[in-house]
């Protein structure tokens, strides 16, 4: 198996080639070490960071931006969105506060991405 990928770790967008022909996964075409990890993960079990919003009460803001603190399996993105959309947060809330822990047993927390006093 040989896969051509575009690394999404930064705006550079390196063109990666991932191959398992030597018996183990090898990545070429990267310009930083994050490309190696991305290439291996993307070829086997791709993940994405989800950024979205949840409802917030007790403030002049009505939506709180949130993100998953790490990548979640790509196949679970819409299930994660459904779970995140059930959440309502009461202000005050601070950047980094966990608003939903271990979403869908992925081991990844959903955290606040802004402070709302």
């Amino acid at each position: 198996m040989t896969k051509e990928l575009i690394c999404i770790c930064c705006p550079q967008g390196c063109r990666l080639t991932v191959s398992d022909e030597s018996g183990e996964l090898t990545v070429t075409g990267y310009t930083c070490k994050r490309g190696i990890e991305y290439g291996k993960t993307e070829a086997t079990a791709p993940t994405r960071v989800i950024t979205t919003t949840v409802a917030v009460t007790g403030s002049s803001w009505c939506r709180l931006p949130v993100k998953t603190a790490g990548g979640v399996p790509k196949s679970k993105i819409f299930d994660c969105m459904d779970a995140i959309n059930q959440v309502t947060v009461q202000a005050p809330v601070h950047t980094g506060d966990v608003v939903l822990s271990n979403i869908l047993e992925t081991g990844v927390d959903v955290v606040a991405a802004r402070t709302i006093e």
Partner: protein, 422 residues
Amino acid sequence: MFQYDLAIIGGGPAGLAAAVSAWNEGVRSIVIIERDDVTGGILNQCIHNGFGLHYFKEELTGPEYAGRFEQMVAETSIDVKKQTMVLNITPEKMIYAVNPTDGYFAISAKAIVLSMGCRERTRGAISIPGDRPSGVFTAGTAQRYVNIEGYMVGKRVVILGSGDIGLIMARRMTLEGAKVLAVVEIMPYSNGLNRNLVQCLDDYDIPLYLSHTVTDIRGKRRVEQVVVSKVDENRAPIPGTEMTFDCDTLLLSVGLIPENELTKSAGIPIDRRSNGAIVFDDMQTELEGVFACGNVLHVHDLVDFVTAESMKAGKSAAQYILYPYQHTDQPVELQNGPGVTYTVPQKLDLTAGEAKTDLFFRVNHVIHGGTITVQAEDGTVLFSRKKAHMLPAEMEKITLDKSWFVGHHTATVSIQEGANEK
């Protein structure tokens, strides 16, 4: 009347960085004037991640990136006037503004930083024919509705323009349950980053139609159909290629315009190609003591570059306030040669400021293999570097040593194509 050493017009990423930078250089009388209820500017609605990789060496969302700078400002005694609209700036550096607590008032400043940002081009700017129903939004307006106000703007969506804002909104609308039927791009290539083509379109199987544009909008009260046609090499629609999409929403991501009304009111000369003020390498405009940075100067791809440029503007403004200086009346003028749309800065002052300067520019078409050259008026090559790929959508940056320009009056930045075949 209020008096400040430094007045900063606009509290987005550019204004915040300029303020922090000037404070760090020792200026203690600073005001940031912001028309919104909050500072942070467009970053407040850019809830996606990817910000800060250059400046903070980590991947942040827009609100997190803005929050870092808001925190830095909060640790100083910089004044922040929110909900304040600047109406006029004079060549004497008087600022006239209005807000709910002070009413109509004036600010006198020793130096001014212009950091008003940019606004979106609209349907009117590109003259899309058809009906005038509701459901046609600029992508940024839709982004504000969805991410800040909490309103979904539509269920079946066509997006015109494949710049990063269009791509980001394609993913955002999809995550919130809408069906994005197509992203349509008039050029034969996308104007977005490759990473966004992958993670915003490919991930969700959203089709991208290159060399296509919207040629009709149909609908009585709400958008009902959008017609998309293929275009020829002159970007003219080809009859017979029409595709009709049943949809209720059209998002437009068709370009950004620096918001320079105040710049013009102060009589500051504008570069017609960058659509921002003409600046020296210290970010000073041709009006002494007035500096410009961020998207009001030229539209950037990455906020990290806005931050770096604005830090420089803030530092220069501080220098001007603390150790007043004047620019030479014989700067080196930078000119745009073949392949180059504009440069920022446009003028180099060899007698003041730092020894080296970053030069930002954009190419005017896709270039596969070229050489960036800076050539003096007598033909002397001052700088030359090969580069494999250059796209109009990606801002290029080179660093110039000002000593190279001694004895010269003008220099031309250009691209020689095909000079380095692989």
